[in-house]
Symmetry: none
Subunit: 199 residues, 4 copies
């Protein structure tokens, strides 16, 4: 009963991807099982119920999938840098890279992230504490302090600030006409580099 077959995994992946696209396209409140099926040409909502115990479980999987992709990308960027200042810049620009490569995932995440009050119901509390949260960034900032590169009074607060700033700029990047994502990344890096400046 434990473990999943290859076919099952493929179906689950298909459904998760369909959900992400639907979320990105029509928003959370309109994303019903029916809507997901329409978007992915799935034959019946029963298929979704068959593969997922419920809507919360599906959304949890969706969130996991998105955060994993974003995390992998970020880790790749960050680890290439040797200085903590460089790592911070990489952390920031990986956000924009993610949006450029997986725009649907990015938009879907925006939809889900807004649902603060839903998270418990979605079983996302552990997720929130890890990936949605800023642990990684906090650690990065703290190590940078210890290494003498940064001078930050309260790393968790700065981490939350950076994350919120990133999300918000990403969310509204459409405002910047022919959004030059690279430029945005550079500017934000600049902004937060100044904050961390050891004198």
């Amino acid at each position: 009963m434990r473990g999943r077959t290859f076919t099952q995994d493929a179906r689950r992946t298909q459904i998760v991807e369909a959900t992400i696209e639907t979320l990105a396209e029509i928003g959370y409140t309109k994303t019903s099982f029916t809507a997901i099926c329409r978007h992915a040409n799935l034959s019946s909502t029963g298929l979704i119920s068959y593969h997922f115990a419920g809507k919360p479980q599906l959304l949890r999987e969706v969130t996991r999938t998105i955060l994993e992709k974003a995390g992998t990308l970020r880790t790749g960027h960050v680890e290439q840098e040797t200085t903590y200042r460089g790592k911070l810049g990489a952390y920031i620009s990986s956000h924009f890279d993610f949006m450029a490569r997986y725009p649907a995932h990015a938009r879907a995440l925006t939809e889900i992230a807004g649902l603060v009050r839903e998270r418990p119901a979605l079983g996302l509390d552990d997720v929130a504490r890890s990936a949605l949260s800023v642990e990684t960034l906090v650690v990065l900032l703290e190590e940078g302090c210890r290494a003498g590169e940064f001078r930050i009074p309260d790393p968790p607060v700065l981490a939350l600030a950076v994350q919120g700033a990133l999300d918000n700029v990403v969310r509204h990047h459409e405002l910047f006409a022919v959004a030059d994502l690279g430029r945005l990344a550079r500017e934000l890096t600049d902004i937060f580099t100044r904050c961390t400046l050891a004198p």
Copy 2:
């Protein structure tokens, strides 16, 4: 028939307040007319329909109410300061002040602000462009630059960053156990003051 009576205004206010509390308590997706009625001890959802043309109209009024409260508070804080640096600090701390005084309003706003995709449906597009947006802050930063107090490469981007940072810190302030909101305000002010530093 034309215009609103005193009684009507009172009821509308009551319903709006009940909606805000409901949003704060159980989140957007669970906030049905029925749920609102439970919160306000109203006898039937028909009463809400009687006073508001529809759900979008109710939510528009809710948003208006919240933003007005937040705006008034902010204006008060900001105008007391004479320097632009002071104004920026006041802008930031007014956010925390709002959260301290009207926690339900603040949490409700978080729920609504997440509904990027819903805004058109809710008729919030004009609202989004003014109060939900960062216009005020952009102007403040630009004037500060012109006055020689700030040195900011791209005010709109910084404004979005500040707003996002504030929202995010406010959203997760519960993480900081015995949240000392004053301290948070000071730290964020410090962070963003450094970014705007004219050399």
Copy 3:
């Protein structure tokens, strides 16, 4: 308790007229108390309920009013003629006259007449048997037969046919572009005169 004051009658008349206009304009199914109030700038649906025991009673009064107007008109036309053939023609043309003079009443009647199954509920059964029905016409035809002017195998059937033909032509008169109602009246008179022709 019996009897009505002058004011009451005026109000009742006003409401009845408002209802007729509403029926004519938006059709039976959309004619709610609220819609009637909008159309007549009445301040509250309570006013209607105050003056009429219920919706059926209002509609009965509406029907009575319309049929009375139509009946008066018809009687006037018919009695001016001396021959039964003339009376039949007058009967027919009075229908078009009614439509020309009271278009809203005519259209409203169309809306009500369609509701065959509602009539009992509306307490219109007696009405249907008298004014909505063809008694008058049947008598006219029978007397014409006795007078030797007509030769009709089964007057009630012809009467129903005439009435139905009239209603239908009136209902669809919009089809005839710049409907020349006079011409239509003449043609129908011609048609049914031929049917009644004594050899």
Copy 4:
């Protein structure tokens, strides 16, 4: 997903028939989804919504079904005749035949036909223009004229008259106690044959 299955067709048919019976029995205004379900012993109104996109769509299907049945019957009758006079008689008697064979359908049609104002909302405008209308009859009369059998000043007007007469007699046939539908058919045929008489 595409196309309809056998089961679906069966259910749709069942619902359409149930609707027709309900319309015939309690009239248009009382025919709610709930009422239809009672009539067909369906468990929930959701079932109707599952099979039909909305109430207008259901009513359109109902109308289509009724008109198709009536049309088939009529065509069969009419085509068996060789003279235009014969065809006119067949056209008329097919109406009574329809009423005799499908009394519920006939009564339901009466209910729907009354909703002149609703037709656009019901998407019945095209239907109204073809089957609810008198095109067929107009053509028949015109061809009869060309063939020298009829002498009719204005075929569309006569057609409307015939249709209206038929509907009205059918509608009130209950008045004729032991309604001998055959006799009624013969009398109406007689009436309208006289009108079309070429001298």
